[in-house]
Amino acid sequence: MAHKMCIGFVVLCLLNGCGGNSLPDGVVLIESPDVSQLDDAAKQQVNSAFKSIQKLQTDPPADQPAKKTAALYAQAGQVFQSYDVIDLAIACYENSLSYQKDGDILHLLGRAYRETDQMEIAADAFSHAADFLINDRAAMPYVVASLYWAGDSYLELDEIETAREKFQLGIDRTNGRQPIFYLGLGKTYMEEDPVKAIEHLSRAEGMIPGRKNILYLLMTAHRKIGEVERAKQYQEQFEKSVERLLSVDPLHVKVQGLRKTVSAHRMRGNTALFKEKNYVEAVRHFKLALEEKPNDAILNVNYGVAMMYLGNIEIAGESFAKAITLDRTRITAYINLASVHQRQGKLDEAISVLLQALGQNPSTLDAHSLLAEIYLTKQEFAKAIELYDHILQKQPANEFALQGRSIALAKSRRYREAMEQLEASLQVLEQHPNLIFLLVQVLASAPDDAVRDLERAQEVLDLVADSEEYADYVAECQAMLHADRGEFETAIQFQTKAMKISESLGREGRHEIQQIALDLYKNDKPQRMEATE
């Protein structure tokens, strides 16, 4: 590929010495970039960067210090890199380095070569950058970044020993205070010595617990040495964890910060919203983007979503409504607006918005799902069931639809159908606690004798008997079954126990409903659902 054709001759020059403060050999002419495809802000920045070096190229000032020339090339290179014009960025960095050696620029050159997949040159550039930065007594974060990226690049090249050297040097330079180097070192041992890998990875995990990538490697290493149970524990932690241990690269962050276009803010906002879950940062970027493009429907939607996460549902609702006026086909705006209405208790407004959404796109399952949920709340069960049927036709294992349909059937007193639906759902969603509790309830308290089946209810409940998370629900169900058998004393004991557990688990909201059941048992009455119509 064209952008891969640059050769890292300056890196070699630096090693061997290409000398001189005058125009050194190896400085390449940088041609004017075609900016026709860039957006306005990007065009301006890229053109400005090019102009700053144009004079150096065509009419180099005779008395300009090499340091200044180097800086101008370096600055232009950073702007090009920030807009992903990597071939020009590389050329600028190479030119800059021809005038003056600099650890920062070598590091950025390494990043640029890595972006163009020239891993060997990148690894060397990082390595030399680290040497320069160490000699120059640069701030530690810069040294750490260069050493880590050097090690990581050698690792990709399967040059394990060299990678190990870089990570070990990082540990030495930082007095063992940077977990990223133990992570790197651990990776170098994964193949040949998993026990040693575990040693280093555990150290990283000890310094900064709960990082996804460390946990995954620990899982793999333990599995490799046959410690399957330990591996499973790490798998569980890995699946629960969110954050990763990544290298902090201050120079790269600085380069990325040079990008100030709408799209840059849009992308940073999206990253903050969807990947980092940093809603404050997301709002900040979306606001900046919206200043330039207030009538962008997607920006309005995403801004609204970020606001919703921050609890500002009024503003969120306004954004979604605006997005709909800007683009009537923007289904996500309808669904989000309906969610806002739902949270505000405006169920009819929510239904109206969702029906509009389905008018635009009848196949949107998210709209069907939310609409069904709202109908369920409004006790319009037939409508809810119809919508759940539609969802299940498309997604036969849809958890919410299976659950929602069962609830709708039970609440509409179609107990036999509810029981059958629940049994079928449990074939798909084995040991699903909500389904189990609902099935136990139907089997234990349906008014129809033909549906009630205490034996089966106990059998189903036993599936979650050991659950700590749902211990109160289990106890409540036990109480219900005992009451149904006429064992009211035992029922009262279980119900009281359930209430205490709920309290300890912070589910005080259940107290009222639990008390009603307790009162029933105290009056020697089992629970019964309403009779079938």
Partner: protein
């Protein structure tokens, strides 16, 4: 010093030969010849793009190599797109269609003259075949679902999928409704695979995300230029598993089998017995989500064990944008290893099987990581292109996000990339020989589907590449015929139905090969199900042992090298398979 440089330039030929008779690639020989045009394979894919940058327009499509008329040579099926956009016509398309907007079937009329010269000649038989696949074609799976000895076609689309029953007379009948195999989604790859060992091929269909014009959104690259969005911004759709009832109909067991428990944007599938328990497991390639290894529980259900078994995520525990996929025993240790194709910010990934169905990411050790960065891989398949006994890897590429450097060159469709050929050096590492391999890696195109098969029946694997908004390309293997080879065509009890899902041991003096008939894998495509084993200088094969999907084991000792051998189940010597 001069001598050393000369040695590098000519590639030190002798030592190359020692690696199993590899051709000297330093001379930039043309290992394959593009015969698409001369063979009459006149097809150009139309993606229906008109500037809205719909996610779907860059996804398709696939192709199949299969013998639909049972005349002994491989025919070609290829997917076609149509115009996209709610209120558009073909006039709005950026690239005008060059073929009729329906999937095409080409019949291979291979001619071998008295001197052994082979001429591949295709005839477009779409019209007479009765196939009327006018949906937005994504992929194709081939299998004899009704065990009548004739290969049937399952077509995946954006919209309703279609099952075409082969009538055995050159025509097909659309049996989608009666068979119960439709799924009205954006489907991608599919595979016929017997998951319950009842001798009838079941059907797995990968579904991607919810796609509609109304939910379409625009994404941007760093320069601010508009680009395509990834799957992260869309809602994934669960896959479907249709169990063959044995009477021409299927039952949708997606939910009961647990497959539909999770919704992932899936694009690729291979069905193999990864865990070594004799039951086919299903490995699914997901785009930007962890991949799934559905381990067969032998009771109609599956459990996804990909995370613990080390093949859901790369070494760092990162999900990757998996598109293409293949499985084969690349290190010669008797189990199937996996390779996954990813997008250009990631490497392709090799998951090495340790023999028990646990995997390790061995990408860097096999030297497949760095050379695959910078390319977005779709179809990819293991293939011993030079019959030197070692499985090599061919990968077709094409970006999914606008490539800034191509955009600056004012390219209208700035996604094209070159395909890559990686040669297996010694079973423990690969080298990228794309630049030296000639035409097969020369065009820079937006390649998606890839099929491999011996189209001219000369004992060397040929390559069919389905390009998005580009020509279908057939590359005939011209790497030379010095090395020995063994061809195997396996059929089931009735001696008519091509067998899939079995494992085959090919035992020679000093080396044992493990192979499987391979129709699935790659991306949205279906391959020649015959087994072709490169033997290098090995002059003969002692025996072939077939491990049938139901556990039976059969042995043949009279197989002939340098030709195809038909192995009908029940004609070999029974070994104790219990």
């Amino acid at each position: 010093m001069i001598l050393l440089i000369l040695a590098v330039l000519v590639g030190c030929g002798d030592s190359e030969q020692e690696l199993g008779g590899n051709p000297d690639l330093s001379a930039h020989v043309d290992l394959f010849e593009d015969v698409s045009e001369s063979s009459g394979l006149d097809f150009t894919h139309f993606n229906g793009m008109h500037g809205s940058m719909y996610l779907i327009e860059i996804m398709g499509s696939g192709a199949a190599l299969f013998d639909y008329d049972n005349d002994g040579d491989l025919d070609v099926y290829v997917n076609q797109g149509h115009m996209l956009g709610a209120d558009t016509s073909v006039r709005d398309a950026i690239f005008q269609p060059k073929n009729e907007l329906r999937d095409h079937l080409f019949r291979n009329d291979l001619v071998i003259d008295e001197n052994g010269n082979r001429t591949v000649q295709f005839t477009d038989v779409t019209e007479v075949s009765g196939i009327n696949a006018t949906g937005y074609g994504m992929g194709v799976a081939i299998g004899d679902y009704d065990s009548d000895g004739w290969q049937d076609i399952y077509v995946t689309n954006w919209g309703s999928n279609q099952l075409y029953k082969n009538n055995g007379d050159g025509t097909f009948t659309d049996v989608t409704d009666t068979s119960g195999t439709d799924t009205n989604e954006l489907s991608s790859s599919a595979s016929f695979v017997d998951v319950n060992r009842d001798g009838h091929l079941d059907l797995y269909v990968c579904n991607y995300v919810v796609f509609g014009y109304d939910t379409h959104r625009q994404c941007y690259i760093d320069t601010g230029a508009a680009s395509y969005c990834g799957p992260e911004s869309e809602t994934p759709v669960p896959d479907r598993l249709f169990i063959n009832n044995g009477d021409g109909t299927f039952a949708d067991k997606s939910a009961e089998s647990q497959i539909a428990r999770i919704a992932t944007p899936s694009l690729g599938i291979v069905g193999r017995d990864f865990t070594g328990d004799g039951w086919v497991d299903l490995y699914i390639a997901n785009d930007s989500k962890g991949n799934n290894l559905w381990v067969n529980q032998q009771d109609g259900t599956f459990v996804d064990e990909a995370v613990l078994r080390g093949c859901a995520f790369n070494m760092d525990g990162n999900p990757e944008g998996s598109m293409g996929i293949d499985a084969a025993d690349i290190d010669g240790d008797g189990d199937d290893d996996l390779v996954l194709g990813h997008w250009n910010d990631e490497t392709n990934t090799l998951y090495e099987n340790d023999g028990s169905g646990n995997f390790v990411d061995s990408t860097s050790q096999f030297k497949l990581g760095v050379p695959s960065r910078g390319s977005t891989a779709f179809g990819m398949l293991w293939v011993d292109f030079d019959n030197d006994t070692l499985l090599d890897l061919y990968v077709v590429n094409g970006a999914v996000n606008i490539l800034e450097h191509l955009l600056r060159e004012n390219e209208t469709y700035p996604l094209h990339q070159r395909n890559q050929l990686f040669r297996n050096i010694d079973g423990s590492a690969f080298e990228d020989i794309s630049d030296a391999s000639g035409s097969v890696c020369k065009p820079s195109e937006v390649s998606r589907g890839l099929c491999i098969g011996d189209v001219d029946n000369d004992g060397t694997p040929d390559i069919l590449v389905a390009n998005n908004s580009g020509p279908l390309r057939l590359y005939l293997n011209r790497s030379g015929d010095d090395n020995h080879w063994l061809g195997l065509a396996l059929t089931t009890d009735n001696s008519k139905t091509i067998a899939l899902d079995c494992r085959v041991e090919i035992i020679t003096e000093g080396k044992t090969f493990w192979r499987s008939p391979r129709a699935d894998g790659s991306y949205c495509s279906s391959n020649d199900p015959r087994i072709l084993v490169g033997l290098g200088e090995i002059p003969d094969v002692q025996k072939v042992i077939v491990h049938w999907p139901d556990g039976a084991i059969e042995e043949w000792s009279e197989v002939q090298v340098d030709q195809y051998n038909e192995l009908h189940r029940g004609t070999g010597r029974d070994l104790d398979g219990a």
